[in-house]
């Protein structure tokens, strides 16, 4: 394929090159001829002026004498003077046309020198005059010299064209080969990657040309694909692991009930537990699907300018009774005009997860505690913080809890999927922001940082993937 492209490209450039060279050479030839022609015309003009001078001074007799004298010189002009009947009075040439019919002015006429055979018809440029006495005077110059020059030029043109084609062909071949060899490099590397060597990267020559930019972009793309692949592999491992546990519980419970349940009541209880267990599994799937959707950037089109303080306050209002019931002092402090491009549903879900976490883990071991929700903006960013006074998360574990299925509570005594924070992080990334886990000394402060709509921070807040502006 590359070879045929190389051939086509070379042929195409060569054709264009040859065409232009041909045009230029043709123009030069045409110009040369025009110049030669002008030169001949000028010499004839000069000769005629000289003859006219002689004629004025000495009349017809003087003219005839001059013509006879000059006609005998070698390499001379062509002269012919004929009378009214067409008989030659003097001159050094025989015209091969009926002299009477030649009209005055410029023309190209065939002729012979008197000592030559009739077949040798020479060509001359001739100017014809009719003198006042009815005589016709022909003065001309042989064109053989010009013809020879014309042939030389034509031959030179053919040679130059051949040279041009050869040089152009070599140049085109050289350039396309160079260019295509880099394309070939991309193709070879891609083939290696397709064959399974995902660590392979395209060569970059550091010349910072188009090919380098292409290679850099493709490499960045491969890096991103690699990350996603790793993420996917980790995820499927985790899914396999974490679904195994509830599925096994479900299966064992059913088996147990089948073996032991004696009353209808026992069987019903077992079935209820089975339903609960499967609901839990379905919730895991939902959460995973949601994370995947948020991470793929598909939902980016659903982002519209929203007043975040309204979303936060509606969630605070939703959760306040629950927090009080749990014995937490509940506080909210919301700024105003916190507008961001957001999906209300997803931000609501994210905050609900954070508040849920605070309710679950934010209780002070000595009893009591507090849950505070704040929302404020600064420097083009909107920070929504959910802070508790619980045990918090040790600094070295903060990265881990954001990953899927990670739960610090090793006993897993509290209900939960271990997906909450990863969903929040995915939602934050979708919005061009991030989730920051900070020390509330004591306790955890989970901060959702989002770029303010129209703010300078824009989409570049997170180093995450640039979200494509997709169609709805």
């Amino acid at each position: 394929m590359a070879r045929t492209t190389a051939f086509k490209l070379s042929a195409f450039y060569l054709l264009i090159f040859a065409l232009f060279s041909g045009i230029i050479l043709g123009y030069i030839a045409w110009n040369t001829r025009r110049l030669l022609d002008a030169q001949i015309t000028e010499t004839i003009e000069t000769e005629i002026n000289a003859l006219a001078e002689q004629y004025r001074q000495g009349g017809l007799r003087r003219l005839v004498a001059v013509i006879e004298r000059r006609g005998r010189q070698s390499g001379s002009f062509l002269y012919l003077l004929v009378d009214g009947r067409g008989d030659a009075m003097t001159g050094n040439a025989i015209l091969r046309v009926p002299v009477q019919s030649v009209s005055p002015g410029w023309g190209e006429i065939r002729y012979n020198w008197p000592d030559e055979a009739e077949e040798v018809a020479r060509l001359a440029k001739v100017r014809t005059f009719i003198l006042p006495s009815g005589l016709r005077l022909f003065v001309g110059r042989d064109l053989e010299e010009q013809d020879r020059l014309r042939v030389t030029i034509r031959r030179a043109r053919g040679l130059s064209l051949l040279l041009v084609v050869l040089m152009g062909g070599f140049g085109a071949w050289f350039v396309t080969r160079r260019v295509l060899s880099r394309v070939e490099g991309v193709a070879t590397t891609s083939a290696a990657i397709m064959a399974g060597n995902l660590a392979e990267r395209l060569p970059v020559t550091n010349t910072n040309d188009e090919f380098d930019r292409l290679a850099l972009h493709l490499n960045a793309m491969l890096d991103r694909i690699g990350e996603l692949m790793t993420g996917l592999r980790d995820l499927s491992d985790n899914v396999a692991h974490d679904l195994r546990t509830p599925l096994t519980r479900l299966r064992n419970g059913a088996e147990d009930a089948l073996r032991k349940a004696e009353t209808l009541e026992d069987a019903k209880t077992a079935l209820e537990r089975a339903i609960e267990e499967s609901d839990n599994l379905l919730r895991i799937f939902d959460a995973l699907q949601m994370i995947a959707r948020a991470e793929s950037g598909n939902l980016a089109t659903s982002l519209k300018p929203q007043k975040l303080e309204e979303i936060v306050s509606s969630l605070a209002e939703l959760y306040e009774p629950l927090a009080e019931e749990a014995g937490l002092a509940f506080q909210t402090k919301l700024g105003t005009g916190l507008v961001a491009n957001a999906n209300r549903e997803l931000i609501g879900q994210a905050l609900s997860n954070l508040i849920d976490n605070a309710l679950k883990y934010g209780l002070n071991p000595e009893g009591g505690g507090s849950l505070s929700i704040t929302a404020e903006k600064s420097g083009g960013q909107i920070r929504i913080a959910v802070a508790d006074r619980g045990k918090g998360i040790p600094e070295d574990k903060r990265q881990a809890v954001v990953e899927r299925f990670v739960r610090l509570d090793a006993s897993r005594a509290k209900p939960g999927l271990g997906l909450g924070l990863s969903l929040v992080a995915a939602i934050a990334r979708l919005h061009g922001g991030e989730l920051r886990l900070e020390d509330n000394a004591p306790g955890l402060k989970a901060v959702l940082v989002l770029p303010e709509a129209g703010g300078s921070a824009g989409r570049s807040l997170a180093s995450g993937p640039a979200l494509p502006e997709k169609e709805a």
């Binding site: 209820e272 609901d279 379905l282 919730r283 939902d286 699907q289 949601m290 959707r293 598909n298 939902l299 089109t301 659903s302 509606s314 209002e317 939703l318 959760y319 009774p321 629950l322 019931e325 999906n343 549903e345 997803l346 609501g348 879900q349 609900s352 849920d356 309710l359 209900p415």
Partner: protein
């Protein structure tokens, strides 16, 4: 109540139809979109339950065709696609409510009954009465046995929704959707706390219980005299 279930998965469809029959409704079953549309246009159904992905004609196109024929029969869309944007698409196509698969049957039943009630003109009354509890939508006032009960705006909307669906089961997700306008799964008993607070305000000592908890399903407000 006459219900048409359009569902291509025969097991799921038969299960849903049987359960609806057991709940005292008459349920017909159509296995593909074309048949479903014909039956919906020919019959007089109170509610349609339509799966989104159907052979021959997908659920959304069925609903749009139905609406093009000026049929206003309420439609509950069932779908395995539960995300925000899918819900919006479904409702924009002319669906009235959206339920994500898998669902608890009680949830589905509650929604079907709520949809049928919505068709009923008396649902948009200015005042609701359940026993001696009266809610005045215009004056934003609630009273029981003639005594005013002050409620927070959200509590008022919660009670309003429950009373509009008096005698029907209202699930927790229905409350979260209709009173708070959020469609996610809160995973905790947030709604329960709000309902129990409301209950504390509308039911004093010695007064009859109006707001009942229906185990495994949700809540129902009911006139004790009936």
């Amino acid at each position: 109540m006459k219900i048409l279930v359009v569902e291509d998965d025969s097991e799921a469809g038969r299960y849903l139809a049987r359960a609806l029959n057991e709940a005292g409704h008459v349920a017909d079953l159509a296995a593909d979109g074309e048949t479903g549309l014909e039956m919906a246009l020919a019959g007089t159904y109170d509610v349609l339950v339509v799966d989104r992905m159907l052979p021959k004609r997908d659920g959304l196109s069925l609903i749009m065709a139905l609406r093009a024929e000026q049929r206003t029969t309420p439609v509950l869309i069932l779908s395995a696609l539960g995300q925000v944007d899918d819900r919006v698409l479904g409702l924009r196509a002319g669906g009235d409510d959206y339920l994500t698969k898998p669902y608890a049957f009680t949830e589905c039943l509650a929604r079907v009954e709520a949809l049928a009630r919505r068709q009923n003109p008396q649902s948009a009354q200015l005042t609701y009465k359940v026993g001696d509890l009266v809610l005045d939508r215009l004056a934003h006032r609630v009273s029981r046995a003639g005594e005013d009960i002050p409620l927070q705006p959200r509590e008022f909307r919660l009670l309003e929704y429950l009373m509009r669906h008096a005698g029907q089961v209202v699930t927790r997700t229905m409350l979260l959707e209709n009173v708070w306008d959020y469609h996610f799964d809160p995973q905790t008993n947030v709604i329960d706390v709000h309902v129990s607070r409301l209950r504390g305000k509308i039911e004093r000592k010695g007064q009859a219980t109006l707001l009942h908890t229906i185990r495994g399903a949700g809540y129902m407000i009911r006139d004790p005299g009936r």
